[in-house]
Amino acid sequence: MTKKQYLEVGVWLSLSIFLGIKSIQLDLGTLSSPGPGFVVFILAGLLLLLSLGLLIEGNLLRKSFVQRPTFGIRSLCIVCLIIGYVLIFRKLGYLFSTFLLMTLIFRLMGTKWWVWALGEAFLATLLSYLVFEVALKLNLPPGIF
């Protein structure tokens, strides 16, 4: 088993422990009157068993056959950009924040020149604004505009 697989099982085990603790806090109730934590407790137990199953399954495999996934840094950057977008969305408004986001995303996704990225982002923002705000009346925040 690789370190990543141990980490993977660790995540599920932690989630199972979290659900177990929460289920008790939520009130398990009784068998004839199950409380809000009853099903949560069962899920915690299931997840615990499945994590142990994954641990056994992982150990049965020979290391050479375990595929090691690679995670792209650009993918993480894009998610971070969207989270940043969430933070500035209300303050700066749809047009400005979306223009900023799309410029950076176009650059990250392969547009070589900044000028092109700016142009593509401008068109994308404008078109989406016309469709979603003007035509579909989505009530996008105006922000600084």
Binding site: K22, S33, P36, V39, P69, F106, M109, A124
Partner: protein
Amino acid sequence: MDAFNNLMAGINVALQPTNFFYCFSGVFLGTLIGVLPGIGPMGGIALLLPLTYRISGMASIIFLAGIYYGCQYGGSTTSILMNVPGEASTIITCIDGHQMALKGRAGPALGIAAFGSFIAGTLGTIGLMLVANPLAKIALKFGTSEFFALMVLGIVVLVSISSKSILKSLVMAVVGFALSLVGIDPIAGSERFTFGVLHLNSGLDLAPLAIGLFGVSEVLIDMEESIKASFNIIKTELKEYFPSLKDWRDSAGPILRGTVLGFLVGIIPGGGAILASFASYAAEKRLSKHPEKFGTGVIEGVAGPESANNSATSGGFIPLLTMGIPSNAVMALLLGALMIHGVRTGPLFMSEHSDIFWGVIGSMYIGNVMLLILNLPLIPLWVQLLKVPSKILLPLILLFCILGSYSVNNNILDVLIMSLSGLGGYVLRKLDYEVAPICLAFLLGPIMESSFRRSLIISDGSFMIFVTRPITAVTLLVSLFLLVYFGLKRKKIFDLDLET
């Protein structure tokens, strides 16, 4: 006679301008989504789901159903012309379809895919019309424990066929179930997993979660793979699309067999268009007098699977509409769309919402005719669209994901949920997890929890209610059998992989 009158009424409903418009938009966008490699019906429906919030329940299901069966038509185009499946259920079409194209027979391959899809889609709709009513009557006898057991079966079937590791798929189902518990407890009325965030009191919304899991994660993966870089499109003329008489003779049997097989596979919870197309190809190869020719460009290898995946979409509506159980993740999204409009599917659906049921059936007939008319002339347009570089297309899809999530409640927190589930979906898919069980368990979770808890309340805390009631016991036994059977079978396949 009643069914005929209802069908006519349904066609009338579907022909009303608004419904007709949404039917057309659905099949058009569905074909487009099917053509674009990577997105698939799941991602497409998840992306377009928020658009249905502002329209009626009837129009929204007509629109979303159109996308689903439209996808099956569109997916074959890229499989045949480029050897790149537009969506998973057309993977098998690549084998003989692309070989036919390489031999200069792209036209008949595209033609038989379209005509086969039309015949299967229409016959599948007739099947749906005939089977749904008797099944709904049987489902009326179901109690809470039976519903719980059926939902367990639905999740187990999807888990059994969906991934290399059953354990990983089960983990995903548990995660989906846990996510569905966020919000107010349906029986006790207390808050669960809201962490003081007011927005979470009403629970997580399906759209941001599904858009993140399927749409955003797909964009992130496609961005790394840049699959469109090596496309080699085979040119064909419109006049060449019509199959010859010999092609029709060779395809008639596969189309009919594919239709029946696809329909039956579609009904089984967890089955669907992908499984149907593979099963049809295997059946045709086994029944053929010249099985050795399969893989070299025989028309039977296109006609059978293309018919099967279309009739499976019709079959998939049966458990959803008659028992309220989505047979696959796409149906789970359709169920979500109906629930948003306050329409609950189940045994009473046909009597309480007969207008919607027959309206959808009517729209399927009309949609299939539209697809036949649209499909072949639009192929040059789809080919042009595929030439748009991924560096332009992917950011635009991402922007659409953002707007789709925001439009659910006009709340930017939904965009945050979408991006986090997108990141989660990306990591999980990289680690070889299937994300579809999350979505199915997320949707079935609340109904499963209430059925389970109510069953225990009824039985005064005795688990024997799940054993003594025949339908419940048999359904749970079948679920257990499937888990063990597919688990052992997969182990054998896996061992074989290791040896080779």
